[in-house]
Symmetry: C2
């Protein structure tokens, strides 16, 4: 029944809140709140006259400081908004942040205090979400790109009724095993969409979320049913604005016309090193206009509630451009002695200043207290959220009746359940199949998979014709063709990776892939690490994976890159050797939706080898040939990718001389590590110490595989500009050298 | 004598052209030029009327192509410039590029063909340099940020008379051991200033070069003698413009008011994936105005010589801002069938199209030919360059007479010879010295060294107060205080690294350092790899080097980073354990002017350990304590950085139980690797297989050190948000665990 199917989707999604960090004890149980002396506030009542008196004494402007020009009207009284509940809610947010940071004696109170007004308006007035099902598909997405200010988001989620942020969670802010870590982490805290903190990542994630919405809306909405329809909101700070990744992603957001992306720029003029005047004097407004955004300036972000509301309305009315709302705020608003200074950016206020801030804002409550009327005001979000979801479910039921096929496909995307037998689409090869570059074999896999996996979409950082990543049956995702599945990222590797993280975390069945030369993972490594950390199953299609690319020379030739990803947690480094292994690598990459995969692929042609298989790849390491019996070869040759062929040829030669030689493909060290000890022993028996590895990259890390008596053939210097064959020869990556080294053992 | 001292400087600099890639055979000797059929061009004379006829037939506009809108007036005849020599020189440049790419059957002819006019004007009319001494201190700097177009620069250097690019070098373009690799590499080709190719790096290097000039000019120029006075020119393409690093560096360039930086933006609307319309539709002009640059648009970059000249004049007249000259060109200008398309970006034209281009541009010469009048025209640069240098030498002699002290200091910077005994300034510590974080000890070293090393300057990416990198006796390098030595990079790690590469390569005695949290090396890894490749001795001051940073959590906690740099060629990864080791790390970093150093430093306090020393650090690994004799301990505990203390304490406990235990500090694996086998055996004797390592990072790579019987204590997962002590305990990085593991061996 259609009516029952939609809740089932929601249900299955709630189950996603599984974290690889597991659960652990909550530290600091409620009640232990040292350091607060509230006695002198006890007499204050909550009547607005007292509040007004307190506010009139706001001393920010009275401070004498040569640099501390107050740019926003931080002392305007709040009366003119006439909404005392808003003021009270905003102060609740401020003090939850202050109290949590104070208790942890660690954290960043400044941003939550300054951004509480826009945060309040977003979560209380604007955004559509269901606190009891943070994974409801059609929710508005929110990204705190300035992730250090996470207490803002935790406070808002707490007020809104998310189960992940209860009072105890606020009290265990930044403690072992808590749901409220030092920066927002989607894998820890249901309701947090992405993982931010490293600056600039969040706004790029938000671009990915907005792209996903625009793409799915174009594919599944019908003239009579808008089944995909939400906004993506982000808050970014000065730090995010300085990062190159933000400029990359924002350039693309405008190019793609992501009109439902609304970003708030917390323009507070303070970063860790002090006033942004010392390093950041560009006109952000003009730059964003150049990028193609709609730009609005809210001059009084501290108390200008109506201005903020109007800006959001205006942003929504601009359909063809993303909007940047520059909101000028005072960092640490409300703190009499620390507002508008770097000292409130990343440290607890301290007992004395907390007290002064309570006085100043007229806040008589004990730490972590949410006033009853504020609680009751926010209480509507639980029933409202449930109603929003129920309404959408009903709409979906209607949709399903009219558009059976589309509904089924969309449901599979939302649930992340792939069509049965999808893996049968993967091509297979025999040793007689023509030799080919694994980048070309990769394109065969991508095109085969795109037919059976409706969520596969992606592209390259301006190297589509080199990376071989075009899906031939689809056009380009562009402003006016958002239903298409080829993404054109331009030369913006870092933005590309982070945008793909956003796509992957938008909908479980979306499988974003992205591509560049393997060496340029250096440009996007921060985003790739976040993929691994935030459990985004992005597929990184990395071609030109060694000196085998030849003439472009050392700036383009990866050396240390395989090792550098093998050392990174929760990411799969795969280096297939031929067609079957490339297909296997894609199978692994698709199956692993909670860890990203990096596929290192060759520019040069490689033979299809006997013995390779998809099943072998799934084990990470396996025997492709052996002329010994009883698990007792005289020699084991171990190769990966393009060098497996060299190992195989060397084995052929040595076998001609009567040697018992095993050849092992170690296509993914991580997967091999996960196999049983018995399996590992069956591939690399401890008793066989004569082992030679060959790989066109650093030998760093190979000691673990070859043992202290083995030898690693590799490259521990930078590459060179010359035809590939010549470099291979000069660097000793040859059949002859493998044989010579093997004989030396 | 003053008069003789300046040439001595030049002399010493010529000796810098040493490459770690060494020399090798030149491939493809002159004469072997297969594939060219010039017979049908033989009848063409060089008279200008023939040239004109050929040009009038220029067919670019006749092509029918839906996307190929010609944006520059690529068919205007050249007559109006009235400078046939310029035209001929420009075509010489084009055909040298065409011919070299054709012979190599690899390379990028499109940019050189389109940028030949601006290239000609720069090298023939504008820039001040001495071809016979590419290291003359006061030369104008040129950076080809769009490094794939390197044949442009090689052709220009060849015409100008640089010894590094003779005809044979052009003929061995992209071949093993040549001086003309696939992208510009300063360590291969004297006269190339920096190493480019990875897009965006070059323009950021250029910002560093211009910063160095402004800084040195402010420190050493006198009202009556401008001893430092040159421009920095760069050419960047659409690809560079898309990269975030370029935006970061260009934002800083304007902030710093680098008025002598003049960047040409080759606006050709083509990148590898085709028309830039598919991914790059922002207004670059507006963005640069927002960044604070002066922007000029040359609409006809193909033949508008006077417009280009006028733009350069205008750029020079704007003293307080860097200038972007957007030059609209046609990629592959002159090629009748491939101009203005991606097909000419990165492939040889092919015999047929080369011939068609010769016809089209009226070029009757054999490959690699430089017409006699062109040769003679360019011939003046050798004597002119010598005269420029001689003039400057004379000026320096005058300067030296009047300003003895400044001259001596500047000379030491130019020669890269440090004041004798500089290393004595490094602090030393005893076990009784107070415990301290190595980031604080690092600041002591930096401040001590800044007093004795006039070329030490640097700063942080908005974390100065966390990285502890301020030089207390200096102010901030700013637009109006360029003589100061604290650089404020803002939150722009990638730009920071590349800017430091430019500073390091500007003048041998400049020692740039830069800082952020260790985990954020991920943001700047591409620039750090270029440091290593281009032999720029940048000091990377990387604090918060492990889970020891605590509450900020896994986004901020490095895990795989130590391994990832140990795997990178030509870079030193140093992780000092206390004050003496921090001093040692700085000594190593300063001495190594041809390889960068990465210092991993703690946020948390560490004890001053008995047995640590500067000398020990210089060897990379050494014994800090041992109660065994005869190089035969029962157990070796190996630690680095903050975990060395844990190893030392565990050893103390085990010794109480009568065990013979050695403790080894492995502060730099690279330096230890370079020691003699005898030394290494004296530290880690092969016979002792009971080895336990402890390091708060991945165990990846440690197998080589501990052998197959040893055990590595480390962290092979992401970190967590909690107080540092708690995470250490939860992850087993404790004295108790070391003892337990040791006993299990």
């Amino acid at each position: 029944m259609a009516a029952s199917s939609s809740p089932a989707i929601s249900q299955s999604l709630v189950g996603r809140a599984i974290s690889h960090h597991g659960s652990a004890d909550r530290a600091d149980p409620a009640g232990a709140l040292p350091g607060f002396r509230l006695s002198n506030l006890a007499g204050l009542s909550l009547e607005s006259s007292s509040l007004r008196t307190a506010r009139r004494m706001h001393p920010v402007l009275n401070r004498a400081s040569p640099r501390a020009t107050v740019r926003a009207a931080s002392v305007e009284t709040l009366e003119k908004t006439g909404t005392s509940m808003v003021e009270k809610s905003v102060n609740t947010i401020r003090f939850l942040a202050i109290d949590a940071v104070e208790k942890a004696n660690s954290g960043h109170p400044g941003l939550p205090m300054g951004c509480a007004p826009m945060g309040h308006i977003l979560y209380d007035e604007v955004m559509r979400y269901n606190p009891k099902n943070p994974y409801w598909f059609n929710r508005d997405r929110f990204v705190l790109s300035a992730g250090h200010g996470c207490m803002l988001q935790y406070a808002l989620m707490h007020l809104a009724g998310y189960d992940s942020v209860k009072e105890d969670d606020l009290k265990s802010f930044r403690q072992w095993g808590s749901k409220t870590p030092g920066h927002p982490e989607n894998f820890e805290t249901p309701g947090v969409e992405v993982t931010t903190g490293p600056l600039g990542q969040g706004i790029a994630n938000a671009v990915g979320l907005a792209l996903a919405e625009k793409h799915l809306a174009a594919r599944y909405n019908k003239p009579d049913v808008e089944i995909v329809d939400h906004y993506t909101y982000a808050i970014l700070g000065d730090g995010c604005q300085m990062e190159g990744i933000a400029n990359e992603a924002c350039s693309l957001a405008a190019h793609w016309g992501l009109g439902k992306l609304i970003a708030f720029y917390d323009d507070n003029h303070i970063s860790i090193d002090g006033d942004t005047e010392i390093a950041f004097t560009e006109s952000v407004d003009t730059r964003f206009e150049g990028l193609g955004w709609h730009v609005i300036w809210v001059k009084n972000g501290n108390t200008g509630y109506d201005e903020i509301r109007a800006a959001i309305e205006e942003a929504k009315s601009v359909k063809d451009k993303p909007t940047l709302i520059k909101v000028t705020t005072t960092i640490g608003y409300g703190s009499p002695n620390k507002a508008n200074s770097y000292s409130i950016h990343g440290s607890a206020l301290g007992v004395k200043e907390v007290e002064a801030t309570r006085q100043n804002l007229g806040w008589p409550f004990e730490p972590f207290h949410v006033p009853k009327d504020v609680k009751s005001h926010w209480g509507r979000h639980v029933p409202q959220g449930a109603a929003l979801e129920a309404e959408w479910n009903a709409k979906f039921a209607e949709y399903e009746k009219k558009y059976k096929e589309e509904a089924a496909e969309l449901k599979s995307l939302i649930s992340g359940v792939f069509p049965a037998g999808w893996e049968k689409a993967l091509p297979s090869y025999t040793p007689e199949s023509p030799a080919d570059a694994t980048r070309n074999l990769s394109q065969q896999c991508l095109n085969a998979l795109a037919k059976v996996l409706p969520g596969l979409l992606g592209g390259s950082a301006d190297l589509a014709s080199s990376n071989m990543t075009l899906l031939k049956m689809f056009g380009n995702f562009q402003k006016d063709t958002p239903q298409e599945r080829n993404l054109r990222f331009g030369v913006r590797e870092h933005g590309m990776g982070a945008i793909c993280n956003g796509i992957a975390l938008h909908t479980p069945g979306l499988i974003p892939y992205c591509a560049t030369f393997f060496v340029f993972t250096d440009y996007m490594r921060a985003a790739m690490r976040i993929s691994a950390l935030c459990e985004a199953g992005v597929i990184y299609v990395m071609t030109h994976d060694s000196i085998g690319l030849g003439e472009d020379g050392p700036t383009h030739q990866p050396i240390e890159h395989l090792a550098s990803f093998r050392a990174m947690p929760n990411i799969l480094m795969l280096r297939p050797a031929d067609g079957n292994e490339t297909a296997g690598a894609y199978k692994v990459a698709v199956v692993n939706r909670k860890r990203p995969s990096v596929l290192a692929l060759s520019r040069q042609k490689l033979a299809q080898l006997p013995g390779t298989s998809i099943e072998g790849v799934e084990k990470g390491g396996y025997i492709i040939s052996d002329n010994a019996s009883g698990n007792n070869p005289e020699l084991i040759l171990i190769g990966t990718g393009s060098e497996l062929e060299i190992a195989a040829k060397a084995a052929d030669e040595l076998r001609k001389e009567g040697k018992k030689v095993r050849v092992v493909s170690l296509v993914s060290w991580e997967l091999f590590d996960e196999q049983s000890d018995a399996y590992k022993e069956s591939v690399l028996p401890a008793a066989v110490s004569a082992r030679v590895s060959i790989e066109a990259g650093t030998t760093f890390g190979w000691a673990k595989i070859i043992g202290s008596k083995g030898k690693a053939i590799g490259i521990d210097r930078f590459g060179a500009s010359a035809p590939a064959g010549r470099i291979y020869k000069e660097f000793g990556l040859t059949v002859e050298n493998v044989i010579a080294v093997a004989k030396s053992l």
